[in-house]
């Protein structure tokens, strides 16, 4: 029996259903590594000062600027490589941003 969801089965980007599907992406610069998870916590690491990735900065208020920068960077890459998913991820991120401003 094929498991539904979570088994990484192949679907077209156009068929991505934000209610049941998930996708993770990561992007890094010289200073930061950012991991976006569609249905779980984001991660942000200061890889200069925390190369072993023990401290997730995504929840830290003082790091919001860096987090926003990395999110934007990911969206720029996504637009080039997978514009359909870019829209889904953008929507998801804007929900998160709204929460951050509450």
């Amino acid at each position: 029996m094929e498991m539904k969801g979570g088994a990484g089965e192949y679907i077209n980007a156009e068929d991505f259903n934000p209610n049941i599907d998930s996708v993770n992406y990561s992007i890094r610069t010289k200073d930061y590594k950012y991991i976006f998870r569609f249905s779980d916590k984001e991660e942000l690491y200061d890889i200069q000062n925390d190369p072993y990735e023990n401290v997730n900065l995504a929840d830290i208020e003082e790091q919001l600027e860096a987090l926003q920068f990395m999110r934007e960077l990911l969206l720029i890459e996504m637009k080039k490589t997978n514009p359909v998913l870019e829209v889904a991820i953008k929507n998801k991120l804007s929900q998160l941003v709204q929460k951050e401003h509450l």
């Binding site: 088994a7 990484g8 990561s26 779980d40 916590k41 072993y52 023990n54």
Partner: protein, 372 residues
């Protein structure tokens, strides 16, 4: 002669061995002189990454040179489709004789779904000594049959004061040793033939359970204080993704299963000691295989690969074993390649390489067009 043109390939792939478990990768505790010497004779890749932190997707990927989403083996328990072409099949079609000892694991290997043995596609292996792991769970496990032949039974013994570590069979009856003896037999019996060969030595260790040979563990018990603790910052799991929090309380999401949250410093050190002890036996056996190549005059034109399919968290980030956690300890693997006849040795390469690069590289080395 055919063999003068095409190199033999001795492909040693351990299971779940993190990159920093060898002296040549900076580990000062393990005893790995043979693998270190191989690195001196060849090329060591300082930044090699696997395509997945678990077996089947990683192995299907490096055996085909394609990413897991393409081979459709995205997690353990999924079978490699018939239309995938393994590097061993391509080599066999080009005249190689291919053999294997140990696991293959590109199809389901749990005894509940594969009660007889692993299902195979047309994989190119002419000699197939299958032993998925040491524990006797299949009547066809050739390692267990070998033990029987020697009047032995597979058994583990408890290590006092540990809930996590056991003693496995002594070195002479160990699965690592059996895998090696099958390789040695193959290397010796092929020396008189023209055909080039490939042999996959797919040792199960240092994969859990943590059950090294007694004598090998003992060496570490005297120096437990020197063994470093895992890379973990107290409370770090709390603001990490949910699966990391779950696995902190039990590996594979099974509460209490090698749960970091329940262990003390002694447990962590003993687990590392057991892991290192398994690696030490692997090293000794690698030495035997290389000695056989030397003795049979095949060392010059044999490509030797030493690598692993993925790493082991070993308590780093508060988690044991593996899972959807893409930390270095999990995805960074050792990769050493030597080919005395063609490749200048004693080099360390710090550029990023991936296991998916291996298949096309081997085709090129064997003078076979890249398959697309």
């Amino acid at each position: 002669m055919y063999k003068l043109v095409k190199p033999n390939i001795l492909w040693i792939c351990t299971d779940q061995q993190r990159f920093d478990s060898l002296k040549c990768y900076g580990n000062e505790l393990v005893k790995t002189p043979n693998i270190d010497r191989l690195a001196e004779r060849g090329v060591l890749f300082e930044n090699c990454f696997s395509q997945s932190p678990v077996c089947t997707p990683s192995r299907a990927s490096f055996l085909t040179g394609r990413y897991p989403r393409t081979t459709r083996c995205r997690q353990n328990g999924q079978a490699i489709p018939n239309d995938e072409k393994l590097i061993t099949k391509l080599l066999a079609d080009a005249g190689y004789i291919c053999g294997l000892s140990g696991k293959l694991h590109i199809s389901p290997c749990h005894p509940s779904v594969a009660p007889i043995k692993e299902n195979r596609i047309d994989d190119g292996y002419a000699q197939f000594h299958w032993s998925h792991h040491a524990t006797p769970e299949w009547p066809t496990n050739e390692y267990v049959q070998w033990l029987q032949e020697k009047g032995q039974k597979f058994k583990r013994e408890n290590v006092e004061e540990s809930n996590y570590v056991q003693y496995g069979p002594d070195a002479e009856y160990h699965q690592t040793t059996w895998c090696t003896e099958k390789a040695i037999q193959f290397i010796e019996s092929n020396k008189d033939y023209d055909r080039p060969w490939l042999f996959s030595v797919n040792i199960f260790d240092p994969h859990h359970p943590f059950d090294p040979s007694k004598a090998y563990l003992q060496r570490y018990l005297e120096r437990m204080d020197e063994i470093p603790l895992p890379n973990y910052k107290v409370g770090e799991s709390e603001n990490k993704p949910i699966y990391q929090q779950i696995d902190h309380n039990g590996a594979y999401g099974m509460k209490g299963n090698l749960a970091y949250s329940e262990m003390n410093d002694y447990d962590h050190r003993l687990l590392r000691a057991a892991y290192f002890a398994m690696v030490d036996l692997i090293d000794e056996q690698v030495g035997r295989m290389i000695a056989t190549l030397e003795k049979t005059g095949q060392l010059e034109n044999t490509i030797i690969i030493f690598m692993s399919d993925h790493g082991e968290l070993l308590g780093d980030h508060g988690i044991y074993l593996k899972g959807p956690h893409f930390y270095e300890a999990s995805v960074k693997v050792p990769l050493i390649i030597s080919w005395p006849k063609k490749i200048k040795g004693n080099r360390r390469i710090d550029r990023l390489v991936e296991l998916v690069d291996l298949a096309p590289t081997l085709l090129e080395a064997a003078g076979i067009p890249i398959y697309e």
